[in-house]
Amino acid sequence: MTFPAFLFYTFAALAVLSAVAMLMNVRNTVAAAMSLVITMVALAGIYVLLEAHLVAAIQIMVYAGAIVVLFLFVVMLLNLRSDDFAPPRQRLVKLVGALLGVFVMSELLRAFGGLPEFRPPPEGFGGYRQVGIALYTDYVLLVEVSSLLLTAAIVGALILAKRKID
């Protein structure tokens, strides 16, 4: 069990546990958000192990650093206290959900097999330099379009959330 493998499994366990915590945590939404952060940081760790350094950094900066903070921001803005589970009917849904989950998971797992082994990656793989080059040579259009998307999202959010001062 090499050190990276050990690291991977710890991160994996951490991610799964915090994800479950997020689901189960009914009383405190902020706690749920924090567990989401933990999942994301754990995933970032796994990305580093999978030689995706830039992605890991961006994951932390954008996902963990900004998006979940946005969640927290909204939670605080609206001062949402706690949430409770639905009445018994929801129990049924919960049960169905769990069953569903198991089925989905089994379906996904069953589908895999015969995946190739890991091979040492080419030099500088996943580093910011290569990704930068790829981003601005092959995927320039992608970058431009995503900038457009982001602007649209900003405008959308603004309009939705702005108080109607008219």
Partner: protein, 111 residues
């Protein structure tokens, strides 16, 4: 280091958890979070597969194509950011109209 099956397995588990989250929880915020979780699971799968085929499927053109997976992950993150922004916008306007973030309260298909 770790056989790819495990990485993809983890991604599957996380995805399923996300799906369950969305299915069960009635609080819109948690649902949005679960969606983020699902997106993260997908990102993980992308990175995993990209790690395994650095030169892209069946020797795609040139090395720099090797990073398809990771670039796609960046795009997913962008989309996720946009989605959260709009989602929270909706949430705020919903809260302002219904005074609750519970999804079942907005089942009238109109404000």
């Amino acid at each position: 280091m770790v056989p790819l099956e495990h990485v993809i397995g983890l991604s599957a588990i996380l995805f399923t958890l996300g799906v369950i989250g969305v299915a069960i929880r009635r609080n819109l915020i948690v649902m949005l979070m679960s969606i983020e979780l699902m997106l993260n699971a997908v990102n993980l799968a992308f990175v995993g597969f990209n790690r395994v085929w650095p030169e892209g499927p069946a020797g795609a053109a040139g090395a720099e194509r090797a990073l398809d997976g990771q670039i796609f992950v960046l795009m997913v993150i962008t989309v996720a950011a946009a989605e959260v922004a709009v989602g929270l916008g909706i949430l705020i306007s919903m809260f302002r109209n219904r005074d609750s973030v519970n999804v079942d309260d907005v089942s009238l298909l109109k404000w």
